[in-house]
Symmetry: C2
């Protein structure tokens, strides 16, 4: 049904269309790719491919363009992640090397990804749920207010103000700090939240209310869903390259970029960094984004990825290139975070 040549034709159509952004005809096809057959033959193959729903024509007497189904086949069967050049790899490494803290890593990654793919890049901050506690700090702001600072293994810093029911002497604060760290450091955040619940009981009766309050704020900071919605975006200027069709492709995407929740849904569950997920057109969970594709993967430890990063662009995108870039950046980011 779909012999090798037909698949070759499909591959050629996808590649040409991605390159020129214009419907591709049978004649141009045999010229650009050295298919050893005549245009007429290609036309027959095209008819078959169209019959199967892999390509379509915008109007009679125009060339063909791939459908979502066509891209899907292309991505699954007709191409592989093309390895980056040595120069590109080095560029990634040096670009990410100088990062000074987590924020810096994330921002550099998003910039890098946008630049490599010439598309819109999204990087989710490491989720708290999968991080462990590195350190907890209590800073006295005033006699009845403390600042609770939580530093996670991935380098994220969360801070919350604690309003104390009554002032706590400095040595008690120091004691609570020590106990907090003993119970929480090295633990998963969710686990840590459970462990610290016993702290109020260990405190002197007079301080119990205050310690309870501290523990409550700690638990709240850890559980706060909003903090898991943190993402960085870059390369929005690349939207301009999407060219025509402002209302259908650019506008909805620009709106989606404002809604971080939507973005996280686009990126999807964090997969293992070695697996790159591709969602094409209608496979994306928002109908306004039906002409948009997402290439994403997880980063962090192989078995336990911390979060997701990826790019979004028009369905007509360079999948092999994007997949390679996403894959490579995820690998380097994982490495850097594991060192830190």
């Amino acid at each position: 049904m779909l012999d090798d040549r037909k698949l070759d034709v499909l591959r050629a159509i996808v590649e040409d269309y991605v390159h020129t952004q214009e419907p591709v005809g049978s004649k141009a096809l045999v010229e650009r790719h050295h298919l050893e057959v005549s245009p007429a033959t290609v036309r027959n193959d095209m008819a078959a491919l169209e019959e199967e729903g892999f390509i379509t024509q915008p109007h009679t007497s125009a060339g063909r363009i791939p459908t979502d189904k066509g891209y899907r086949l292309f991505v699954d069967k007709l191409t592989s992640i093309k390895p980056l050049s040595g120069a590109e790899k080095r560029a990634i490494a040096t670009f990410l090397q100088g990062a000074v803290d987590l924020d810096d890593v994330v921002h550099r990654s998003v910039r890098l990804l946008a630049q490599l793919t010439q598309q819109v890049a999204i990087v989710q901050y490491p989720t708290l749920a999968r991080s462990t506690v590195r350190h907890v700090e209590l800073v006295t702001l005033s006699s009845s207010r403390l600042l609770l600072v939580l530093i996670t293994s991935a380098g994220r810093v969360e801070q919350r103000v604690v309003e104390l029911p009554k002032p706590l002497p400095d040595d008690v604060v120091a004691d609570v700090r020590a106990r907090l760290n003993t119970s929480a450091v090295g633990q998963r955040l969710s686990e840590a939240a459970v462990r610290v619940t016993s702290l109020p009981d260990q405190a002197h009766a007079a301080d119990k209310a205050a310690v309870t309050q501290i523990v409550a704020v700690f638990a709240e900071a850890v559980a706060d869903d909003r903090t898991d919605e943190k993402v960085a975006i870059g390369g929005t200027a690349n939207l301009t390259r999407f060219g025509d069709d402002f209302d259908r492709s650019i506008k909805p995407l620009l709106e989606a970029l404002e809604e971080h929740v939507v973005l996280l849904k686009l990126l999807g569950e964090a997969t293992s960094p070695s697996l790159v997920t591709v969602r094409i057109g209608h496979e994306v969970p928002y109908k306004q984004l039906a002409s948009t594709s997402v290439v994403a993967t997880g980063y962090g430890p192989e078995e336990q990825p911390l979060a997701t990063l990826g790019v979004v662009g028009p369905t007509r995108m360079d999948y092999p290139g994007s997949m390679a870039a996403v894959h490579a950046v995820a690998r380097y980011v994982s490495q850097i975070l594991s060192e830190a």
Copy 2:
């Protein structure tokens, strides 16, 4: 030369044009605004206004649109910051109330501003240069690596990894931490950097190199220019409302939004929160943004603003409304930060 009626005409033209986004003609003008004269008279006035360079016609036999100079006169003389409604004020207050930390305050502000003005909003993070040190923390990562955490008065948290030349015992770390805080807390960051330089001399000879390293990292964190370039952006989706003329108005702005340095230059020096700065078209320091205006102001203490926030949009924007929103948000943010 420019009598009151001519100014009225100019004001009417600006208001109509901002509203309809279309060149406004003499007839429509007398109808919409109840000018008590005939279209012919208005035409004469228009001719005079055009002579003076306040308005122009896109082509012969079209209505008039304001020039940058026209908007300038409008902003300076023909309008005042229109007070927000009570409902709007309350909305701002409640919207910003729930903020949990500085990041949250900034992100909420930028969203709020974008929503109020229906434009692109920019909020600069409090500059380090004008903040004071609230707390310095040293966290042991491994025997030869420390994490230095700096918390400023405005609630910003900066962290840096310190690679020690040789391991430091815990009690020495605690001692250095205490000394760091004693010297630095409450000081301007620049002043603090100077003060801590004497710390290595106070240390035991054996630890001197390590302490020197810590102090160096501290100084670097404080002086790092990049950290002053931090901004949050919101409402990019509102760009779609700029309508036509994608290449001239949207594209360059989208590119500018990628470059935080450019944005900071757009926002300009932080002014007192009670002064709202307006830059119109060519007054903006980038020629690609010649059809863009910026409305900005400082926030933080009146005499010593911490940073800048504002909106950017097409020269054809609702200046009174934008100015009011920027002003109000700056006031509330200042208030919230002073409480924290």
